[in-house]
């Protein structure tokens, strides 16, 4: 079945302007309709008291179970601290070549690191992380081009070094 749109499922309350800016950025890269929907999951089921974080693997599988469909790429947007068993934290993850991904902006805001808040910068970071995880769902692997959105980053300041878009090589590999 032909892919028709991208579905962003927001878990928690987000300002509509805030979501509009993210939606526009995603549309520019994929040229697919971007829908925003509210999601409802009891996050306490995914909380690990020992780590005081949320299990990203379990959340991803739950999102796949509840929201995935053939004609859609779905990204769940959270504001909780995500982990996978092996890592201390992650910003997001997705099924490579699959239908679903998740992103959390918990660690993307300046305030988290004791720096003055910057809403525009935060929006930019969230858009990049969503586009990055969507790239994985389209089968893209990490890229070594410094400013490509598919470059793997592990620190928030590294996200700022990337563009919102794909490098020519990743763009051609997307084959939308």
């Amino acid at each position: 079945m032909k892919l028709q749109h991208i579905n962003i499922i927001s878990f928690g309350y987000y300002d509509q302007d805030f979501l509009k800016v993210i939606t526009d950025s995603i549309y520019r890269e994929f040229l697919l309709t971007v829908q925003i929907n509210d999601g409802h999951i009891d996050l306490s089921d995914y909380y690990d008291p020992a780590r005081r974080q949320y299990d990203a693997n379990k959340l991803l599988y739950q999102l796949e179970k509840l929201y995935a469909s053939e004609e859609t790429k779905t990204i769940g947007l959270f504001n909780v601290d995500l982990f996978i068993p092996i890592f201390t934290y992650i910003f997001g993850q997705a099924f490579l070549g699959g239908r679903t991904g998740i992103v959390s902006f918990f660690r993307l805001s300046n305030e988290r690191y004791g720096i003055e808040a910057d809403k525009s910068l935060l929006l930019d970071r969230i858009a990049k992380e969503i586009i990055h995880e969507l790239g994985h769902t389209f089968g893209l692997i990490h890229c070594s081009v410094t400013d490509c959105v598919m470059r793997s980053v592990t620190y928030v300041e590294d996200i700022d070094q990337k563009n919102t878009g794909f490098c020519p090589s990743c763009k051609s590999a997307l084959m939308l």
Partner: protein, 446 residues
């Protein structure tokens, strides 16, 4: 398995395996997982993983024991151990046992990325080092093509032309004419020169050994196959394989060889996985392959597949004008290697060398010069230092009588015409020897 970096994750926890699998897949690595050491070791028998990421605490065989086993099988394997139960002792023990590094779960994503990047750098360096070493070995004898004769000039021109292509080459010529040197020269001037030139002397191996040598084998494929072993075709990937004495291979091997040359893929002895390799084939023989094809002892299809280009090396007796150049070259070579000053050769010895037929070709001349430098007085190479008198110039010998006459004369000279000792050496009685002397009109003065 493709040529990108491959990682084997060994951990008893499924969530850990899945997390790492997804992480590395997104980075473009080839990844496989094993839930325990036993499965990991059996996977390692079939695939050569670049990096092994192993948990220490596992049921059954633990990570440290597995590390020791992996290292005993493949000493250059890069093993990174990980555990949630970090103690200094286990870390030290892991490093002592040859682990590349040690990491404590859960780890910072950046730490793992750094670790894998460092391991990848090490793998690249090891591979580059191996390639460069092979290149040095390959290139060292290219200048050994000595000769100024028309025949030699023609051969050098052919080598230059054929080097630029990827065609199969058969080098023919008598033993000792330098067929392997020509193969090296072709390889070293080709675009494959940065990759290995792998030589196989087919005549020196039995059929089963040759099969294992060419295609490699899996552990346990036959008695004594203790480890997986790469075959020569696999080792020659991107380079050249030189099959010397190709005429000696069996009919079965001819079929196998034809298939490999056509498909550029093969299966190791005792294995079940097809391996691809991009190699160029150069063969050599001192036999007449076309005649063997006509007689039915060499496959016609293989002959045509191999004989795209044929370079024939003439025997030394047909390019005698190269003898002085070769003599000087070998004197210089052996004086340098023996740390001696350059020893000149006197005119009589030089003249005799030029007259000699050299049935063993350049190899015989080389050995002769080496011997002369070792046994000579160190000031000049004289006629007496060269074992020429023990040889018979074969060009004038056509009949058995000629041969017999020369041989009897040689033995008589050796034993200073002592008839009893000469007859004993010839294993004939004295009367027979006298009759032969009479028949051939031999006398001490001659």
């Amino acid at each position: 398995m493709n040529k990108k970096i491959s990682i084997l994750i060994v951990d008893d926890e499924e969530s850990v395996r899945d997390s790492l699998y997804n992480w590395f897949i997104e980075d473009g690595y080839y990844v496989e997982c094993a839930e325990n050491a036993k499965t990991a070791l059996s996977k390692l028998e079939f695939d050569n993983f670049n990096i092994i990421l192993a948990d220490i605490k596992m049921p059954g065989m633990d990570g440290l024991e597995m590390l020791r086993k992996i290292k005993s099988l493949k000493s250059d394997a890069i093993v990174i151990v990980m555990t949630a139960f970090a103690t200094v002792d286990t870390a030290v023990q892991a490093l002592k046992d040859g682990a590349f590094d040690y990491i404590t779960k859960p780890f910072d994503p950046d730490d793992l990325s750094h670790l894998i990047r460092n391991a990848t750098k090490q793998i690249t360096l090891i591979k580059e080092n191996e390639t460069l070493k092979e290149r040095v070995v390959t290139l060292e004898n290219v200048d050994d093509l000595i000769g100024n004769s028309e025949a030699m000039k023609k051969i050098l021109h052919e080598v230059e032309n054929v080097s630029q292509s990827n065609s199969s080459v058969i080098i023919t010529g008598e033993s000792g004419t330098g067929k392997e040197l020509i193969a090296k020269a072709i390889h070293s001037n080709s675009s494959r020169r940065y990759f290995p030139l792998v030589s196989v002397h087919c005549g020196a191996l039995t059929e089963s050994l040759l099969e294992s040598e060419l295609f490699g084998h899996e552990k346990g494929a036959f008695t004594g196959a203790m480890y997986n072993r790469k075959g020569r075709f696999e080792m020659a990937d991107n380079g050249t394989i030189f099959l010397d004495e190709i005429a000696t291979i069996s009919s079965k091997m001819q079929v196998e060889l034809l298939r490999v040359i056509e498909t550029k893929s093969f299966i190791r002895v005792g294995g079940n996985k097809e391996i691809s390799s991009d190699f160029r084939v150069i063969c050599a023989t001192n036999r007449n392959l076309k005649l063997m094809v006509d007689e039915g002892s060499f496959r016609e299809d293989l002959y045509y597949r191999l004989n795209v280009v044929n370079i024939h090396l003439p025997p030394l007796r047909e390019r005698k004008s190269d003898i002085p150049l070769l003599t000087d070259y070998f004197i210089k070579k052996y004086c340098t290697s023996m740390n001696k000053p350059l020893i000149p050769i006197d005119n009589a010895a030089k003249k005799r060398l030029e007259e000699f037929d050299f049935p063993g070709n350049i190899r015989e001349l080389e050995n002769m010069i080496e011997r002369a430098i070792v046994v000579g007085n160190g000031k000049k190479i004289a006629l007496k230092d060269l074992p020429l008198e023990k040889n018979i110039s074969t060009s004038s010998l056509e009949s058995l009588d000629d041969l017999e006459k020369n041989h009897i004369n040689l033995i008589l000279s050796k034993y200073e015409w002592n008839i009893s000792r000469s007859a004993k050496a010839l294993k004939v009685d004295r009367v027979t020897l006298y009759n032969k002397i009479k028949k051939y009109n031999l006398n001490p003065a001659k």
